[in-house]
């Protein structure tokens, strides 16, 4: 039986809503560390957050196997909502996923488990969408790399375990590697694989 909450809560205006969310993600990817506001356009069932769900609706479809972290995997409501609105097949293993939706980043498996792309086709990698509580109240991270004029700051929280160290390894695999979209209530920020992270040594 199809529940009402499966069908409710998609984009009211799919064309323009998807366009505005995409532009926010594109600008965030082009300018790592900047927070691009995303309107509350999607109303997904918990534990999916509205911003992460809006990003998923914008980018996922039946061409993109989607990996869900265990807490989303355990939620039939979230699974059927994503299935109904995106049509994305679920990826059995993280290395098959084009996108990964993560509701509990602090418990995330290591980044190296996801598709990294190949040296010939580095674009065949997983893009992770992490649901965060905030982009400004975590530990300060200094960001450098393409898209950043000199230096950018970000303070996302919560992050996967040993994230700075994991990211350094991800960076060293360039051009292979994963890209991360951070989805918090205030909007999205991105960490493309080119971004270098330094922690603030106080």
């Amino acid at each position: 039986m199809v529940e009402a909450e499966t069908i409710d809560g998609g984009f009211a205006n799919p064309v323009f809503d998807a366009q505005s969310v995409f532009r926010a993600v594109m600008d965030a990817m082009a300018r790592p560390g900047t927070v691009q506001p995303v309107a509350m356009l999607a109303r997904p069932p918990a534990p999916l957050s509205p911003v992460a769900a809006a990003v998923a609706l914008t980018l996922c479809d039946n061409d993109t196997p989607l990996w869900l972290d265990p807490s989303l995997q355990a939620s039939p409501a979230a699974k059927s909502w994503l299935g109904f609105h995106t049509g994305a097949p679920l990826a059995g293993t993280p290395s098959d996923a084009h996108f990964a939706l993560v509701s509990k980043p602090a418990e995330l498996i290591a980044l190296e488990n996801f598709a990294q792309g190949t040296q010939e086709y580095p674009d065949r990698s997983t893009t992770l969408i992490l649901q965060l509580d905030s982009l400004a109240s975590g530990a300060d991270l200094l960001l450098e790399g393409p898209g950043i004029e000199k230096m950018a700051m970000a303070a996302p929280t919560p992050l996967p375990r040993h994230f700075v160290e994991q990211w350094k390894q991800n960076r060293s695999r360039f051009p292979r590697g994963v890209d991360v979209i951070l989805a918090a209530p205030e909007g999205v920020a991105c960490l493309p694989r080119t971004t270098r992270i330094k922690t603030m040594e106080a």
């Binding site: 205006n13 799919p14 064309v15 323009f16 998807a18 366009q19 505005s20 995409f22 532009r23 993600v25 594109m26 600008d27 990817m29 082009a30 300018r31 914008t58 980018l59 996922c60 479809d61 061409d63 993109t64 084009h98 190949t118 040296q119 010939e120 086709y121 580095p122 674009d123 990698s125 893009t127 393409p146 898209g147 950043i148 004029e149 360039f174 051009p175 890209d179 493309p192 694989r193 080119t194």
Partner: protein, 308 residues
């Protein structure tokens, strides 16, 4: 969002269907994440022939929204066939505001020039690209060029530039001059004159490249290192002109040669029409501006040369 249903009743907003836009949007994000790397995408048939900018049109159609202001240039000019028809296309299928002023545009689709007016953060430059693979004329096999990019094996490109020097005494490549992006991928900046290459380096604007026939999308994020390939003893140089623009008197801009009559008369004018018009409005005048130009119809002007 209110759209007049009668205006675009038969098409989705911006012509492409939503699944196609998602596919192109995913390719754009990968392109931004791997600067200079050519992301394959499932290029669609567009209502214009390949070679008329179908790659750029698909990229623009996938990013454009109702709030955008679009400028389209063809060799710097807003008023030539390709620019006029692509601008009319987006006016029709996306009902967006269009402009010819560089500073007012949020998206600038370009065929082979970068505007003279400095671009700013928040602007997106969309290039129409005919041949995205800089190594294609050196190695025709895609399997091989892909491997060369994978292994960062760009010796062949340097040999090509060296052969230029051996034959001509200088690097003779003047357009589609290869660049290295962020110290990793060698990229074709599309057939822009090499004059524009320095503008790509650390540009505050996002640069997206679409090649429709060749089915590739690539990107240069803002504030990214874009270095033209050269040699220590033959450093990269841009074209210089020994005359200013004949209409607006601008120096340090890229000039087009315009033939005036059948006696060998010609003049050099700004290739960027918007830049030239703006300067003339501000009161700048070149030696053929206004009345001088009319008088010229009866005279053969002196020689004005361009040197590489």
């Amino acid at each position: 969002m209110t759209m007049q249903a009668t205006d675009i009743a038969t098409y989705n907003f911006a012509y492409l269907d939503e699944q196609t836009k998602r596919m192109i949007r995913r390719a754009i994000l990968k392109g931004i994440a791997i600067p200079g790397y050519q992301v394959p995408f499932a290029s669609r048939e567009m209502p214009m022939p390949y070679g008329w900018g179908t790659g750029g049109v698909q990229v623009t159609a996938s990013i454009i929204g109702p709030g955008d202001v679009l400028k389209v240039i063809d060799q710097g000019a807003d008023d030539t066939t390709n620019a006029v028809s692509i601008r009319a296309f987006f006016k029709k299928v996306a009902d967006v505001a269009v402009t010819t002023e560089t500073a007012k545009a949020t998206i600038i689709q370009t065929r082979h020039r970068i505007p003279e007016h400095p671009l700013t953060a928040g602007q997106t430059l969309v290039y129409q690209v005919p041949i995205p693979e800089p190594l294609r004329f050196l190695e025709p096999r895609e399997t091989e060029t892909r491997k060369m990019h994978a292994l960062e094996e760009y010796g062949l490109m340097h040999v090509k530039l060296y052969e230029d020097i051996a034959r001509h005494g200088r690097i003779a490549t003047t357009y589609a001059y290869p660049v290295k992006v962020e110290g990793r991928y060698v990229m074709d900046p599309s057939p822009t004159p090499k004059f524009d290459n320095p503008k790509m380096h650390m540009s505050p604007a996002l640069q997206l490249f679409g090649a429709g026939r060749e089915k590739r999308i690539y990107a240069v994020p803002p504030f990214t290192e874009v270095v033209s390939l050269d040699f220590e003893d033959h450093p990269f140089e841009v074209q210089s002109f020994d005359q200013p623009c004949a209409l607006c008197g601008a120096h340090q801009v890229y000039l087009d040669e315009v033939i005036l009559d059948d006696h060998g008369g010609h003049m050099f004018v700004c290739s960027d029409t918007d830049h030239c018009e703006k300067r003339r409005e501000e009161g700048h005048a070149g030696h053929l501006a206004g009345d001088a130009f009319a008088a010229l119809q009866h005279n053969v002007p002196g020689d004005s040369g361009k040197k590489e």
